[in-house]
Subunit: 345 residues, 2 copies
């Protein structure tokens, strides 16, 4: 095989463990013939699940044993110190050791970030990794970061997030100069807290396609490709989106199942409702990128089903093909070079 | 009239000025026979609009002339200093002078807050006013604050917001002990920034019905009545809600108007779609309360239509009936008394 992308999968991670990870792995292999997967976790259990799916001898699957599992609520520091043979840790180690090109896990977010950061280290010029995800928007999607890796972000961190988000978007969506907006509570220069104002100055002076401040509703507009914010704001905003979407979808169902008449209406309207729910299916947006690390790490929603987890695997595959960490590294190096040149001249 | 609630209306405020404020005033008077309205603004123009609606001699309308108007994008400090005869300022003055029980404006938010704070002053024990609004939730609505009056909030400010939101909810919804949640990016005690952690401690030690940390998706759940956060996070979250709701509603329309077949489907499904859009009609949630002031101030969305602005007027009416500022003042005094008693014993 000429191009063959190797992705390690934390097979024990997520709320449903192997009953989701194994089917997701098989779906992904069916979908992409240019990937192979390393399933990391309890070897006996993995083999049992593979056998159930008549996939025990699939040549594109390798099983790597790990004796421990990180609990979904386990404190990150404990997981980092006490679970050196966890499926999560071993799956990340494989990237470090060059045996895998990317890792995907549906496990504990905090533990995954802490472990990935410890094992893979950040890229030169990056102080803090950030979590970036796609949010469905008017004409496609927006990339938003940070979604919760950091609590307090300085202006420099926000600037680094902008660089990382910009490179991810360029690599994934093929947009040469993605538009970058800084999330604020108004469009005017005087608005916002000190970090945001200061980041605004850095971004204006920088080389990104920076369009200035954007507000919460702009996340869904088509004039911004990358929305930058600190992890607290980003996480609240993301959870707000998830909560509202879930409530509206539940209420729609409730209204359409009220009585026989509304059920008949639903039946008639079904194709439209299906098209709409497909367009905004959160499962199609599953897969958050941990950016700023010396390696590709994609986090799946803990409650993901196999369709959803397969989507996270496809995000990892795209990042491998696009060589996202290398692109971020080059962009940061170019910025440093520019600054030095500017100082010298 | 035994109970007669007098509300002053900034008749020149909002994107549409008198063409919305006058009809909204008339709708409100029709809806509630226990209110009277003072329309503040250009007297000739107001009278002209009233005459157009055959309401120039309505005994429950008074017109108060104001020679200036605050622009929607005018810097708050300029409006405060330079527009002492603006419709906004005069409308607020009427509350200060006891001629009105509440003021409603669809004008410039920043200018309204700055002017209201300057004219009415904050309640004893309140450092900063906050903006509180109702957000539709699973089983009714949630009150959320602060939605943008403050950028950086200390733990004490967040605690005061909790007290104010709790009193508003008790007064408006008649819930004896509203549940209060503090917006954070996780449920565990270790999560969050320093302000949030410290506010969590204050709230745990306090007398409110505090249920601990909540996340963005909990805004729409039915287990929390009041969601407390700083103004930056609250504003982003609110705008995110507005943006997502607008996009989904547009997409629904787009899908249903794609071709003749989908249009027929829409026709069949219309009653359900109408019920749903009525349930979540943002116009029914228009009217944000400025809490913590020595007077009742309600801010309408700038782009409000008359139905929507009438809703803001009804929010003001409810606050007058419930005597919200007095209730907040008493609750704060009771807290101070408790603390002194605790110290003395």
């Amino acid at each position: 095989m000429s191009s063959h992308y190797r992705i390690s999968l934390d097979a024990m991670g997520g709320d449903h463990g192997l009953s989701v990870t194994v089917p997701a792995a098989l779906e992904s292999l069916k979908k992409y013939d240019d990937i192979s997967l390393i399933l990391v976790g309890d070897e006996a259990q993995i083999t049992e699940h593979l056998t159930q799916h008549s996939a025990a001898d699939n040549p594109r699957i390798t099983v790597r044993h790990a004796s421990q599992t990180v609990g979904m609520d386990e404190p990150p520091a404990l997981a980092l110190r006490g679970k050196k043979d966890s499926s999560m840790r071993i799956a990340i180690n494989l990237v470090k050791e060059g045996e895998a090109d990317a890792v995907v896990s549906a496990g504990n977010t905090g533990a995954l970030m802490a472990t990935a950061r410890f094992v893979l280290r950040t890229l030169p010029g990056i102080d803090r990794p950030a979590i970036c995800s796609q949010i469905p928007s008017n004409n496609g999607h927006t990339h938003m970061l940070d979604l919760g890796a950091n609590i307090d972000s300085t202006a420099e961190h926000l600037y680094q997030f902008a660089v990382m988000g910009s490179e991810l978007t360029r690599a994934i969506d093929g947009i040469e100069e993605p538009t970058v907006g800084l999330l604020n509570i108004g469009q005017e220069d005087i608005k916002g807290n000190e970090q945001v104002k200061s980041a605004n100055r850095l971004l204006k002076a920088g080389h990104l396609n920076y369009i200035g401040y954007v507000e919460g509703d702009d996340i869904f507009s088509d004039h911004v490709d990358v929305v930058v914010c600190d992890g607290f704001v980003g996480n609240v905003s993301l959870k707000t989106i998830e909560g509202l979407a879930k409530m509206l979808s539940n209420e729609l169902k409730k209204h359409f199942t009220k009585n026989l008449l509304t059920k008949l209406m639903a039946l008639v309207a079904m194709p439209v409702l299906k098209a709409l729910s497909k367009q905004f299916d959160p499962r199609s947006y599953n897969g958050a990128s941990f950016l700023g690390l010396q390696g590709i790490v994609v986090k799946s929603h803990g409650g993901a089903d196999s369709f959803s987890l397969a989507n996270a695997i496809s995000v990892a595959r795209k990042e491998v093909i696009a060589e996202v960490p290398q692109k971020i590294r080059h962009r940061l190096q170019a910025l440093v070079d520019d600054e030095q040149q500017a100082k010298a001249s």
